[in-house]
């Protein structure tokens, strides 16, 4: 849902972008590592602990085998990503290690984890973890976390996709059918505050607010949709399509959230507010480029911390 945070989480344990991470939404599991492992939790801010001490987020943590990691509730944001050195060892299906819940395939057996699930790690996780932690802690001295059960570093990666404002603004391009909506609906969409509905999921975020209506009933032929497409079914309640969206849809599209703002939108939990503001394609391109620079800049700093050449 938040590809930026997935990427940063992987970088924090020295993985490549395509290593599988565990996506945790709103409320997390208790995980027991059966082998020593370097892990990092990044994205939404969660209350998490190791034994009786807080698990520091957004940095590499070397957890000793047998230590339960409690990941509680999201305190800010919606989705966090737990990366483990070497990645979660799940098969590649159709070119991806992601889970596609509606189709029940991919990832870990095509489903969400449940109590007792055993997640396979890389066969060399212990060696990888020890070597990478040694590098990650070279520049800045390691400190304990959870006493004997884990070690971590003094540096961390700042959040990139959480919003500081109560009502963050998501920029949108006009949807293909914007002109089919009545005049009031077009204005209201950009003016009002919307709340993410509780029945939102990985397919789409339902937006609670005023009803939007077409100027006159119009049949739309099914056509491709995009991550960020805001479509409006006959009930007038807009839906912003997210990671698991259908490839096509037959509802009129009022707007397209720009790609740079999708990770921030994904981090709005149910009940949280958002607003939408009109942007141009040039602005969307510039925003995407700026986010890419921020992500790359952060990854470079993480790599610098991991660098064993010294300076």
């Amino acid at each position: 849902m938040d590809p930026v945070s997935h990427r940063i989480a992987n970088a924090l344990v020295g993985n490549r972008d395509d290593a599988a991470t565990l996506e945790i939404a709103l409320s997390g599991p208790v995980l027991l590592f059966t082998r020593d492992a370097l892990c990092a939790l990044y994205g939404a801010r969660f209350a998490a602990s190791l034994d009786d001490t807080a698990l520091p987020m957004a940095r590499p943590v070397h957890v000793r085998a047998g230590t339960p990691v409690h990941i509680g509730r999201a305190e800010d944001g919606c989705f966090a990503y737990l990366a483990v050195a070497g990645g979660l060892d799940v098969p590649v299906v159709l070119g991806s290690r992601s889970t596609y819940l509606p189709g029940e395939f991919g990832g870990w057996r095509g489903r969400a984890l449940e109590r007792g699930s055993v997640l396979p790690l890389a066969h060399d996780v212990e060696a990888l973890s020890a070597e990478r932690f040694a590098r990650a802690s070279r520049r800045h001295r390691a400190s304990g976390a959870g006493g004997e059960s884990a070690r971590t570093v003094t540096w961390f990666a700042p959040a990139l996709t959480l919003s500081e404002h109560e009502v963050p603004v998501m920029r949108v391009l006009p949807g293909l059918h914007r002109d089919l909506f009545d005049e009031g609906s077009g204005k209201v969409f950009l003016r009002d505050v919307w709340r993410v509905a509780p029945d939102s999921n990985r397919i789409g975020f339902r937006l609670l607010g005023p009803k939007l209506a077409l100027a006159e009933p119009t049949e739309i032929l099914s056509q491709p949709t995009c991550r960020g497409t805001v479509q409006v079914p006959p009930d007038g309640q807009p839906i912003a399509l997210m990671a698991d969206h259908q490839t096509t849809g037959g509802y009129p599209k009022v707007a397209e959230v720009i790609s740079a703002d999708i990770p921030r939108l994904a981090q709005r939990p149910p009940g949280a507010s958002v607003r939408f503001a009109a942007a141009t394609l040039d602005e969307a391109d510039a925003a995407r480029e700026m986010l890419a620079s921020q992500v790359e800049g952060l990854i470079e700093r993480i790599l610098w911390e991991f660098d064993d050449e010294g300076d």
Partner: protein
């Protein structure tokens, strides 16, 4: 020995009409190619062709190509604004070139005829009596008409492997159900308006269910994950309940 139902035949499609495609942004990381405003068979064939031609170029930055009824989306990756502008322009040129190709050239390689066994009986056909009632036909006649004509896969959408098929006998054209079902079983063969669709996964659905196929429409472990592809011709073959059970128990190769 149970009959194998996937028959491959090559056919070619002649497209007679020329189209002037509109190429529009779909968000900032995709383009939408609009070939027509209404469902015209030639525009549908051209949508498939545009998609095939774009895929044939194997451009590393094209991340997905989605042909729909008379539109195509091309999703792309671009880091900088300049790169995005270049890629949009390159795609637009490519689409315009494809639309200009001589209509007679419009040969779709690999277009297949696929026979799909369907049991139109009992619990697999909960709306058959209703369809019969609304069309003024006997249930047996509904089944006969549905299986009599060839159908064409117009697009795959809604869910992985879920086909929308044209070619429904006009006597069977009725609207969707007044209220959608919360759960439609995978393999359900359904009609609404002028089309047939087959539910590939258990999902909510509002179409009229008249039968069920034991074939898996989508299986990511097969070489061809989706049983059907846009442009395929489909004929439905009525089968009895016993044959359904027998076929459902055997794995189907893609």
């Amino acid at each position: 020995m149970p009959r194998r139902f996937v028959v491959v035949q090559m056919t070619s499609v002649r497209s007679e009409k020329r189209f002037e495609p509109k190429v529009l942004p779909l968000g900032d990381t995709a383009l939408l190619v609009v070939l027509a405003e209404t469902l015209e068979p030639d525009a549908n064939a051209l949508a498939r062709r545009v998609a095939l031609e774009v895929m044939a170029r194997r451009l590393g930055w094209v991340t997905d190509v989605i042909p729909a009824l008379v539109t195509v989306a091309v999703h792309f990756a671009a880091r900088t604004a300049a790169e995005a502008a270049e890629r949009r322009a390159a795609l637009e040129r490519l689409v315009r070139d494809v639309a200009k190709l001589p209509p007679g050239d419009n040969v779709e390689s690999g277009t297949r005829t696929v026979e799909i066994p369907v049991c139109y009986e009992g619990p697999f056909a909960p709306d058959l009596d209703d369809v019969a009632c609304r069309t003024g036909l006997a249930p047996t006649e509904v089944v006969r008409l549905h299986a009599a004509s060839p159908h064409r896969v117009l697009m795959i959408g809604f869910a992985p492997g879920h086909p929308y098929l044209g070619g429904l006998d006009p006597r069977l054209a009725i609207p969707r159900r007044a209220s959608p079902r919360v759960r439609v079983e995978p393999g359900s063969v359904a009609i609404a308006n002028a089309q047939t669709s087959i539910y590939s996964f258990a999902t909510p659905g509002g179409w009229n269910l008249i039968g069920r196929t034991p074939l898996a429409l989508f299986d990511p472990t097969r070489e061809r994950a989706s049983l059907l592809a846009p442009g395929d011709t489909v004929t439905f073959v009525p089968i009895a309940r016993a044959a359904f059970e027998e076929l459902a128990a055997q794995p189907v190769s893609g």
